[in-house]
């Protein structure tokens, strides 16, 4: 794997550890361009499955890890495309995102999300696809989708349900509130909380430790303990697409895009 710097992300391999750095201002929102680059990254990642032992995903941007889907692009496309084609386009986008996140989820290496700042919506879902989340104490995790009339669409609920109790999932999903790193650690979402600005260093230290283990054993252990919730992921896409056609969603997206509210992320 050669070092590569794309528009929204960069990647490289050091000492058996792949590092994927997100850098699309302002908050690494995931849109069509990010998706294409994620797909390119996955193709590259698959070439080092036999040799690399770890993958670290982090953000180069100060404000945080990732604020989720690019809602402005989503709204713009919903205005440009006829309803039938809109649904087809949306479903294809979600299926492609799911393929990428599923490849990260099941990758035969240990994956670590090094999180600082916001990990909202799709950003939280990306972190949940990883085996471990290491967060600095300023990180926040949130599923804000209900305030738009939607559910998380990048696989977040099935993955979170796999990892923690249903009451925690309901708290995050149904209130739309954000958890700080301490709370996320307390309920088992985050494996380590570190000082501000130290998440990537801690992730690298963890990756170095993983290099000591037999790869075949680590892969077998991961495959045993971390099944992909395939059926629920399929259901999630169907529910998301069904909800997306409701008028409330367009109104919610418009409100978000045009908002001058100082707190547009709050319900």
């Amino acid at each position: 794997m050669r070092d590569f710097r794309a528009t929204t992300m960069s990647w490289g391999l050091r000492n058996g550890c792949v590092e994927l750095a997100l850098h699309r201002p302002p908050y690494n929102e995931i849109g069509s361009e990010s998706l294409v680059e994620f797909e390119r990254f996955i193709a590259e990642l698959e070439t080092v499955f036999g040799s690399a032992h770890a993958l670290i995903i982090h953000s180069e941007l100060g404000p945080g890890f990732c604020a989720g889907a690019d809602l402005r692009e989503l709204f713009r496309r919903s205005q440009e495309v006829a309803p039938d084609a809109r649904l087809t386009e949306l479903r294809e986008f979600l299926q492609r995102i799911h393929r990428v996140f599923n490849r990260i989820d099941a990758a035969p290496l240990t994956t670590i999300a090094a999180v600082h700042g916001v990990a909202f919506g799709g950003g939280f879902e990306l972190a949940l696809a990883c085996d471990l989340i290491i967060a600095d104490k300023m990180a926040r995790f949130c599923f804000p989708e209900l305030r738009l009339g939607l559910i998380p669409g990048f696989g977040g609920i099935p993955r979170l349900k796999r990892d923690v109790g249903n009451a925690v999932v309901r708290d995050l999903l149904l209130t739309g509130r954000s958890f700080n790193a301490t709370r996320a650690h307390g309920v088992g979402i985050v494996s380590q909380v570190v000082a501000e600005g130290e998440a990537l260093r801690a992730a690298r230290a963890t990756a170095a430790q993983l290099a000591k283990f037999d790869r075949a054993t680590a892969i077998a252990a991961k495959r045993f303990i971390k099944p992909i919730p395939e059926e629920e992921l399929r259901q999630e896409i169907e529910i998301f697409c069904d909800l997306f056609m409701h008028p409330a969603v367009e109104a919610g997206l418009r409100k978000f895009v045009e908002s001058e509210d100082p707190l547009p992320y709050l319900p």
Binding site: Y27, P63, G64, A67, G117, V118, K137, M138, A139, R140, C142, T175, G176, R177, S178, N180, T182, R183, D261, P262, L263, P264, Y265, L266, P267
Partner: protein, 80 residues
């Protein structure tokens, strides 16, 4: 337990330090969005610092409509 004045003062100090504003330029009744020139996600950053400082959890929906330091301090007092 800190009283409302002490809690307000602690928030003002946290905000001044993090957003590089002289403490003397901030007062309890200031609109922190305007005084600090911050957006919603930066306000969440302030919330996280406040939560970490006071070892509390304050659901962000409780901040809806809250724009001044004193009211923020009152919300925190209710969780201490």
């Amino acid at each position: 337990m800190a009283n409302l004045h002490e809690t307000t003062e602690a928030i003002l100090v946290l905000a001044a330090q993090h957003f590089s504003v002289p403490r003397a330029q901030l007062s309890a009744n200031d609109d922190f969005f305007k005084t600090l020139g911050i957006n919603s996600l930066q306000a969440l950053d302030l919330l996280t610092r406040v939560e970490n400082h006071f070892h509390i959890e304050l659901p962000d929906y409780e901040l809806q409509g809250v724009t001044d330091f004193r009211t923020l301090a009152e919300r925190i007092q209710a969780r201490l």
